[in-house]
């Protein structure tokens, strides 16, 4: 039996019919058409589906769509403003911190949650924050560098 769900996605109100079994990831990709959030493992290990739920990073594959009723979701599509990349995105491009790109949306959102709470993270803080985001291309070094660069940029350095 389908149920009506109301929530906010990237600052827009949505009311959609969902199957109770739909995950937040299926809602985003298949019902709303926001395919920036990726499904890697589908069981919470890879972090490719990371979105912000009321500002906190979560694995969208481990959340039922109906659990987000009345709540605020930010996906990778809601990060760039007016066509301008977020400093984390720009830093990843410049540092070569993205190769195949599959993990990148999740990394950007995990990093955004970190920098929203901690404007001067240590390397250890950064590595901890993205420990739940697997990247099989870069070896992480350039991703960590890019997040540190973005933090500096956001602090006005």
């Amino acid at each position: 039996m389908k149920m009506l769900l109301s929530c906010r996605i990237n600052a827009e109100e949505h009311a959609v019919l969902v199957d109770p079994r739909d995950t937040l990831l299926e809602l985003l990709r298949e019902r709303i058409g926001l395919t920036g959030s990726k499904e890697g493992c589908g069981n919470g290990n890879c972090g490719s589906c990371t979105v912000l739920l009321d500002g906190a990073p979560v694995n969208a594959c481990l959340v039922l769509a109906l659990e987000v009723a009345g709540r605020d979701v930010v996906t990778i599509e809601g990060v760039a403003r007016a066509g301008e990349l977020h400093p984390i995105q720009s830093a990843l491009v410049e540092a070569g911190g993205t190769q195949c790109g599959f993990c990148t949306p999740g990394i950007v959102l995990a990093a955004k949650a970190l920098l929203d709470a901690n404007s001067a993270p240590s390397e250890d803080d950064i590595r901890q924050a993205i420990a739940g985001n697997l990247c099989r291309c870069t070896g992480y070094g350039k991703i960590v560098d890019a997040i540190a660069t973005a933090a500096k940029h956001l602090r006005g350095g």
Binding site: M3, P20, A129
Partner: protein, 293 residues
Amino acid sequence: MRNFIYVAPPSIEDAIGELRRGEARPLAGGTDLLPQLREGRRNADRIVDLKRIPDLSAIRPLPEGGVAIGAAASATSVARHAVIAARYPAIAASARLLGSVQVQNRASLGGNVCNAAPSADVVPALICHEAYAHIAGASGRRRTPLENLFAGPGRTVLQADEVLTALSLAAVRQRSATTYLRFTPRREMDIAIAGVAVRIDLAEDRSIALARIALASVGPTPLRAMSAEGLLLGNRLDRDLSLAAAGAAANDDAQPISDTRASADYRRSLVEVLTRRGLVACARTLDMVLDLT
């Protein structure tokens, strides 16, 4: 995944009513339950989301000095809670071991307990803090020491119409220290192949007034190292007793099996080493000078 109905009742009474209807399962963070449903390892035709019940997500100081952690409170909210961070650092640290930041933002301590994995990281420190499991069901409310909640791997003594509502911790006494140490093959995002929580309370004369040692991943359920605890009680760690003896007793108390992740012998050795290290960490917190030779 089998079709199910989703409900998010506003009170514990309503939740119990929902749990009595068909094959129902409570949902807290969902980080274990959703993959289990998807893979058919658990089944449900009714999912009862507990997160809209205010009491179940609350963390409250108790009048007698302890703290009650709502069963659905997220690991992140537990780790960041001022009272828990200050007085129960081993529990805050254990909550930060539950998978990634993404998982910690969803997973609850109550869910980690009810999933009843022998490797559950939050359980040993909870047992050391004399946690009680508070249970509500159709036949009323009851509580049980946490170590008695587990019936086997993935199984608890909860009835189908019962729900864990809170985990309560005893007040922290003076001259008390607790630590949780685990061994994982990888540094992050891994399952412990052995975990040991150690708590030591000292009397005024610096003898051990209370010792609790709880083990994870080395038995069908989390368990207490009772002979190691008995050996420590009343003694002085810095004078009467060698760390080696306490470690060896904990090694005997463990009941590990061999599986793909580690052999039973290796797990026993880890328990011995982690017990010694846990005692050293507690002793340091308590400003004791140990002969470590």
